[in-house]
Structure formats: structure tokens, C-alpha cells
């Protein structure tokens, strides 16, 4: 866990660091405004790149080839690739195996296949089975990443002068995947932060609800505020509300040693019933709907493009949160203290760190992140909160944090994977008639294979993992201790 050495600055980096503070801030301001103004196009580029990922991959390989020709040719390229990709082998194979088994389930849960088998028509049965499989996964792919040919034609038409609407429609798939991944990223970061401190935050689902509620309440309570005030206010209030909700469990653990697994689960129920009452009672807008009023437009998380692309600034917030979380955990003393408490609370106490204080801080931050998941859904997608808002993100995020080995980068990658699977599920159901439960099977299998990499290693006879790769995620301490 040694922090990497600071990379040596060269050329540009050195020059920027040597500028006076005001100049550096000015540069940052210019860069940020440029990015914000261009955000629509940057996002469109990102979505098109996602949809046309084979082309992007090819371009990347070509660039790599060019670079490597200056640095040592093919051996250098092979070494560089294998160093970078080694960590991806097991996850990729896990996903592939999960898709394979999910595919077997799809193939053999169709009555028509068994009927054909029963009639002795093995060839026809197999044909039906593979047909189901191909149709299902094609639909899953198209729902999650769009149809590459459609994107290419739309791109061509746009460059040829037609409006942008056709291209926007073509990248709906990648957009849905990223939109679905946003709450996963936040909630996954929340649980991962907890794990790093040795805390098992199962209360993410309840904290998401509290954050969602708080943000929406601020959203519709004020009208006439400029967006520059209203939006940050709603976000901050939502995050802090989630943080405070989690702090209840944190303080209980710090003061009394009450195990956070129990307190957070119970607080989940309190959160659910509280929102049930509020939504069908005092906050209900139209009688009989159990839904609040819509928030003011000044509190919307802006969307980058028009319908049907619903990607909103919450996605950027989520990525920023991951960056900040990584920086906090690995580059600050606070983060160091949290990780130490997680690794060994007794050693931390011996080293002069306040274990109780760190537990409370960790639960608060974890709750803030989970609250942000609710905020992003409430301000970016639904613009209100209604009964039935809970979608299980809080519980899936526990698996996500494990998948990502509690590292923010891993959490983002795992969240995007889950977002991709969820985004494709609707199309798979409507086009191929496959129940969405198949996607849940695939998701669960991915978790199983990644959490127990020995299975993949045994099947594929991969080399034994190096010692550094075996990282045990410290789950819970304190049962009876």
C-alpha cells in the first residue's frame, strides 16, 4: 500500500508549477469554463466513442504502435500491454464466464427448446436455443451500447450537414448505461470508503432515500432562486442529510461500540417508513399519488443533450467524487488515518489516532456519498420523489465495492459494468422476451467469479496470483471483540 512516488515533472508541468498562484488559478478557471462550455460536445464524443468502441480500440492500438516504434518496438509494446492488462485478465474472464452461464440459462429455459428435444428434433432444438441466445445478447448489447452501424450512419449524416438529432438518438444506449451507473458509483464509493475503515455500511439504501428526500425538498421549497445557488444548495443539503443519517450509526459505534451492521440495517427501515409516511402524507402533492411536487427548474441537474439522451451532470459529479475519494484516501493524512484504522484499529490507537473519531468521520462521509446517489437521481432523472423510488442500489453497491476491491477506480469500473447490464435489460426484455432476472443472474455470477478469483484461475489454469494481488477486503470487525 505504499503511495507511488510523485511523477517527475517535465516541460509543461514544471512551467505551470512555477507560475504564481493567481496565474495558476486563472489557468484552472479558464480550463474549467472551457470544459463546461464544450461539455455538450465532449459528452457526445464520449458517447460515440463508447458506441464505436472497436474503432476506438483500433485507434488506440495504432497510437500505441507508433509510440512503441520509438521506444523499442514490439517487445516494448508487449511488455507495456501485459503490465497494464494483467490486472484485467481475471475480471474480463469473470464477465465472460458469467455471460456464458447466463447464456446457458437463456438457451435452456425456453419451453420450445424442450418441446423440440422431446420430439427428437435435436438440430431444431439447438437452432432455437442458439437463436434465443443470439437474439438476447444482441438486444442486451444494443440496449447497452447502441447499434454501431446506426451510430456510424448517423455520424456520417451529421458530418454531412444534417441536424444532430439522429446522432443523439443513436447513442441512447451508451447514455443509458452511463446514467444507470451514476447511483452505483456514488453508492459503491460510499460502501468502499466504509470498508477501507473497517466498517460495513449496509445502510446505503436508507441513506440514498434520505439524501433524495432532502434534495427534492430543497428543490421544490424555493422558487425564484438562481440556479447557481439553488442547485449547489440542494446537492449539499442532500449530501449532508445522508451523512447525518449515517452518522447516527457512526456515533453509536464510536460511543457505545454498537455494531454498525445492525444499526445501519435498522436505520434503513426507519428511513423507508419515514419516507413512506412523508410521501403519502405531508409531502404528497396530488391526492392519491404518494408523490411530491416537482422541483423547480433551477434545481435541475442539467442534461447535456436532448431527449432521448438523459445523461446529466450527475455523471460528472460522480467521476469527480471518485477522483476526490481516491485523493482523500491515498493522499491525505485523514485518509491515511482511516485506512490505518481499517487495517488495524489497535495499532492505530497505539499510534495516537482516535479510532472513535475516525469511525464517525468515515460513516459521515460514507453517508454523504450515498446521499449523493439519491441527489443525482432526484435532481437529474426524476425531478421529484415518489413511492417506489428505491431500486436496490444500496444493496448492489456492497457487491460493487467488493468487485472494485474498495478502490475508487475499481468501483467506477464495476459501476459502469453494472450500468451497462441494467441498461441493456429493458431492450432484452422487449425485443427478445428474456426476463430481466437473467441480467441479475449475470450480475451475481460476475460478483461470484471476481470475488473468488481462484475459480477462474482453476478453469483457465492461470498462474498463481502474486502476493500483492491477494488483497483481502476487511469486512467487519468487532463481532464479540
Amino acid at each position: 500500500m505504499a503511495d507511488k512516488q510523485a511523477p517527475s515533472k517535465s516541460g509543461w508541468g514544471q512551467r505551470i508549477v512555477q507560475l504564481p498562484l493567481w496565474a495558476r488559478l486563472a489557468c484552472a478557471a479558464v480550463l474549467t469554463s472551457a470544459i463546461v462550455l464544450l461539455s455538450k460536445w465532449l459528452i457526445l464524443l464520449l458517447l460515440v466513442a463508447l458506441g464505436l468502441w472497436p474503432i476506438v480500440l483500433l485507434i488506440g492500438l495504432v497510437v500505441l504502435g507508433l509510440v512503441s516504434s520509438r521506444r523499442g518496438g514490439w517487445p516494448w509494446m508487449r511488455a507495456w500491454l501485459s503490465a497494464r492488462l494483467r490486472g484485467l485478465v481475471v475480471p474480463t474472464l469473470s464477465v465472460a464466464m458469467a455471460l456464458l452461464i447466463g447464456g446457458l440459462v437463456i438457451m435452456f429455459t425456453d419451453r420450445a427448446v424442450y418441446k423440440a428435444l422431446g420430439d427428437g428434433l435435436v438440430g431444431e432444438a439447438l437452432g432455437l436455443a442458439f437463436g434465443n441466445l443470439a437474439r438476447a445478447y444482441a438486444a442486451l448489447y444494443q440496449g447497452a451500447l447502441g447499434d454501431p452501424f446506426r451510430i456510424l450512419t448517423a455520424l456520417g449524416r451529421w458530418l454531412g450537414g444534417e441536424g444532430i438529432q439522429r446522432l443523439v438518438g443513436a447513442v441512447r444506449g451508451p447514455s443509458d448505461s452511463l446514467v444507470q451507473s451514476v447511483p452505483y458509483i456514488f453508492a459503491g464509493l460510499a460502501v468502499a470508503l466504509g470498508f477501507r475503515t473497517g466498517l460495513f455500511n449496509i445502510g446505503a439504501e436508507g441513506q440514498i432515500g434520505i439524501g433524495w428526500l432532502a434534495a427534492v425538498i430543497i428543490g421544490f421549497s424555493f422558487t425564484g432562486l438562481p440556479a447557481a445557488i439553488h442547485l449547489p444548495l440542494s446537492i449539499v443539503v442532500g449530501a449532508i442529510a445522508g451523512g447525518l443519517w449515517a452518522s447516527i450509526a457512526g456515533i453509536l459505534k464510536a460511543r457505545t461500540g454498537a455494531h454498525e451492521v445492525i444499526t445501519t440495517i435498522m436505520l434503513n427501515y426507519v428511513s423507508f417508513r419515514l419516507s413512506d409516511w412523508l410521501l403519502c402524507g405531508p409531502l404528497e402533492f396530488t391526492q392519491g399519488t404518494c408523490r411530491t411536487r416537482d422541483i423547480a427548474t433551477s434545481a435541475y441537474l442539467p442534461r447535456f443533450l436532448d431527449h432521448p439522451v438523459t445523461l446529466h451532470w450527475g455523471f460528472v459529479m460522480a467521476l469527480l467524487a471518485a477522483v476526490v475519494a481516491a485523493w482523500f484516501l491515498f493522499r491525505t493524512t485523514w485518509g491515511f488515518e482511516l485506512r490505518t484504522v481499517g487495517a488495524n484499529p489497535d495499532a492505530a490507537r497505539y499510534g495516537g489516532m482516535s479510532v472513535a473519531g475516525n469511525y464517525t468521520l468515515a460513516m459521515f462521509l460514507s453517508g454523504c456519498l450515498a446521499g449523493l446517489a439519491g441527489v443525482s437521481q432526484g435532481l437529474g432523472i426524476t425531478h421529484n420523489i415518489a413511492l417506489g423510488f428505491s431500486a436496490g442500489y444500496g444493496f448492489d453497491s456492497i457487491a460493487l465495492a467488493l468487485l472494485g476491491k474498495s478502490h475508487p477506480a475499481g468501483v467506477v469500473a464495476a459501476s459502469i459494468l453494472f450500468g451497462v447490464l441494467r441498461a441493456g435489460a429493458g431492450r432484452m426484455q422487449s425485443v427478445a422476451g428474456i426476463p430481466t432476472e437473467i441480467v441479475q443472474i449475470v450480475q451475481s455470477l460476475v460478483i461470484v467469479f471476481i470475488a473468488a478469483p481462484a475459480i477462474i484461475r482453476a478453469i483457465y489454469r492461470l498462474r498463481e496470483a502474486r502476493r500483492e494481488e491477494i488483497e483481502v477486503t476487511i469486512l467487519s470487525r468487532g463481532w464479540g471483540a
Partner: protein
């Protein structure tokens, strides 16, 4: 060897996916010229044994009998409503049916976004109406009225000393209270016609998915002397029926003929108050295939058009006296004629 086989299978899957991912495709089972109908269900899935399932049954029948092609997407959460409707709209579906009043907002928004797509929404109607949306509502009070009469008559037969009927309801929302008002009026009518004094007691649990609470409430109602329990609230109502079964009382089902869907309680079910969601959506699809879509209007399921009704008596067929059966016929005719007022 194992490794190679696995690699090969994985590559086969990936390749077949990529190959078939290209190009548009008609949904499985659809033929050119079919009216494409998509159903977006609420949280709960199409196998919830009542609401969503009943609607899907109607669409499946339309798929077989008419030149229509029906598919569905189950919503996993509130945030999915718009996304699922968009999925069907972007696939150029002709008619999208959304199931449940919770989808009211999403449907209105999407109807505005896609003015060329026809929409139908179950248990909701818009005021002012939206041009390309047809609301589908049910005058379930018209069926609950004779049900109330039947319940009162049965309680009177079984417990002439102190006849009482009751209900275990889900949430206190208009789609539920309409049942209760009709039920109550039916009991009042019985009292009026026969000079009796059957009482009505009941409770709103506040949730559609609380069978245990429904059972507890059912038991307290039975403790107070209730003889027949009308379970009107999804799984909560089913809990009330369980209580009736365990205490040797009787029950009445809701939405579908629960004689068929509740195998444990079927022998105590005198009847069920039917909300013919399947007939309603079938009618809307049929109208669409004939280019007679009623956009901007409301399909009202009534006793007259088979949108609501009473389920058969099944095991109690012989135990219900003929004069009560005749009364029920007359009542239903009276409601259709407009001579009897259900009080809603």
C-alpha cells in the same frame, strides 16, 4: 483442453452477439403490418397474480387474435418509467400501454415527446385530456355494489343474530376507495330491501404488500364479529383472506377471479369483484387496429361493457339461494339502466 473449450465458447458468444447486433430487427414473433403494442408495467412484474398480470393477459390475447404484436418491459424502479417508455417509442411501437397511476407523470411527459405514438394508461385519466393518450378507468363501484349485497346476504344467512361484513384494504387512494364505497352502498341496499341491519367494518392498512398486517387486521375484524372479508388491496388484502380462511369465515376476492389465483383460500371465496383489465386493454388494442383509437378520451370499464363484473360463485353455487341470485341479476341490470345509484 478445458481452457480451450471455454475460450472457444466465449468467443462464439461474443462473435454471435456482435454479428447479430447489427441491423434493425423486428421483435420476435412480430410480422410486418402488425400493430406493435408495448406494455410498461409498474414495479411488481407481470407475474404479480393480479394487476399487471391481468393486463398482460389481455394483451397476449390481443396478440393471438388480432393482427397485433405485444411485448412488455417490467420497471424495476420509479426512475425507469420514462426510460422504458422511451425504449418502446424509439423502437417505433404504435401503442404503448402503461399500467398504474404511478406512471401518470412519465406517460404525460413521453406523450408530449412522441406525439405520433399512441398511449393508453391504466387507472388514470388526464384533465385536461392529452390528444394521444387514452385513459383507462374502471367503475368498479358498479361491481362492488352487488358484491356488497351478496356479502350482506351471506352474512345474514350464516349469522342472522349479528351479521357483519368487513374489508381489508390497501392504500387510501381513489382506485381503492371506489371499491369500498360501492361495497358499502350494496350493503345499505340489502338492509333497505330486507329490513335488516348488516354492519360494515373495515380498515386501510396503507400498503399493498403487507400480507401479515392484512392478516392481523383480518383477525381483529373477525374478533369483532365480521363474517365476510372483502380483500381489496393486493397482497395485503390476500392476508385478510388468509385470516378468514383460518378462522372459518368467508371471503371475497378482488381484481381477478382469485378462486384461480389463491389455491389456499379458494374454498372460502364466495365471489370476486372483477376489474377486467384484460378486456379493457384488448378493447383499446382492437380499436387501434381498426384505426379508431380513442386518443384524448377515456375508456371506462363498466358493468355494461364487461369492464367490471362479478366472478362466478364456484363452490358456493348451490348454497346461494335462487332469490338472492335473482336479486343480484336485477341489481346489475338496474345499475346498467341507471335506476340504481352506487353512491360513488
Amino acid at each position: 483442453m478445458r481452457k480451450n473449450v471455454c475460450f472457444v465458447m466465449v468467443t462464439v458468444i461474443l462473435l454471435s452477439t456482435l454479428l447479430t447486433a447489427c441491423g434493425p430487427s423486428l421483435p420476435e414473433g412480430c410480422e410486418k403490418g402488425d400493430v406493435k403494442v408495448g406494455m410498461v408495467s409498474d414495479v411488481g412484474g407481470v407475474d404479480d397474480a393480479s394487476f399487471n398480470q391481468n393486463t398482460w393477459d389481455g394483451l397476449a390475447r390481443a396478440d393471438e387474435e388480432l393482427n397485433a404484436c405485444a411485448k412488455f418491459i417490467e420497471s424495476q424502479a420509479q426512475a425507469d418509467y420514462e426510460k422504458n417508455i422511451t425504449e418502446f417509442a424509439e423502437q417505433d411501437y404504435d401503442l404503448i400501454i402503461t399500467v398504474g397511476f404511478l406512471l401518470g407523470d412519465a406517460t404525460a411527459k413521453m406523450a408530449e415527446q412522441y406525439p405520433d405514438v399512441k398511449f393508453g394508461i391504466v387507472d388514470f385519466a388526464y384533465d385536461p385530456p392529452i390528444d394521444n393518450v387514452q385513459g383507462i378507468v374502471f367503475n368498479t363501484d358498479e361491481a362492488a355494489f352487488p358484491i356488497g349485497y351478496l356479502a350482506a346476504a351471506w352474512a345474514d344467512m350464516q349469522d342472522p343474530g349479528d351479521p357483519q361484513v368487513g374489508y381489508v384494504a390497501g392504500m387510501d387512494i381513489p382506485p381503492v376507495t371506489i371499491f369500498i364505497v360501492g361495497y358499502q352502498s350494496g350493503v345499505d341496499y340489502y338492509n333497505q330491501q330486507k329490513g335488516k341491519n348488516v354492519q360494515v367494518k373495515g380498515v386501510y392498512v396503507g400498503d399493498f404488500e403487507a400480507p401479515d398486517e392484512g392478516k392481523t387486521q383480518g383477525n381483529s375484524l373477525i374478533d369483532e364479529g365480521v363474517d365476510v372479508i372483502f380483500g381489496v388491496g393486493g397482497k395485503t388484502g390476500n392476508g385478510g383472506l388468509t385470516a378468514a380462511k383460518e378462522r372459518g369465515k368467508w371471503g371475497i376476492g378482488v381484481d381477478v377471479d382469485q378462486y384461480n389465483t389463491l389455491p389456499n383460500e379458494k374454498d372460502i371465496l364466495i365471489s370476486s369483484c372483477l376489474k377486467r383489465l384484460d378486456n379493457a386493454v384488448y378493447a383499446v388494442v382492437e380499436a387501434t387496429t381498426k384505426d379508431e383509437f380513442g386518443g384524448g378520451g377515456v375508456y371506462v370499464g363498466t358493468l355494461a361493457n364487461g369492464g367490471v363484473g362479478m366472478a362466478p360463485f364456484h363452490d358456493f353455487e348451490d348454497q346461494i339461494p335462487d332469490d338472492i341470485k335473482a336479486d343480484l341479476e336485477a341489481i346489475q341490470q338496474g345499475i346498467i339502466d341507471g335506476t340504481i345509484d352506487t353512491g360513488w
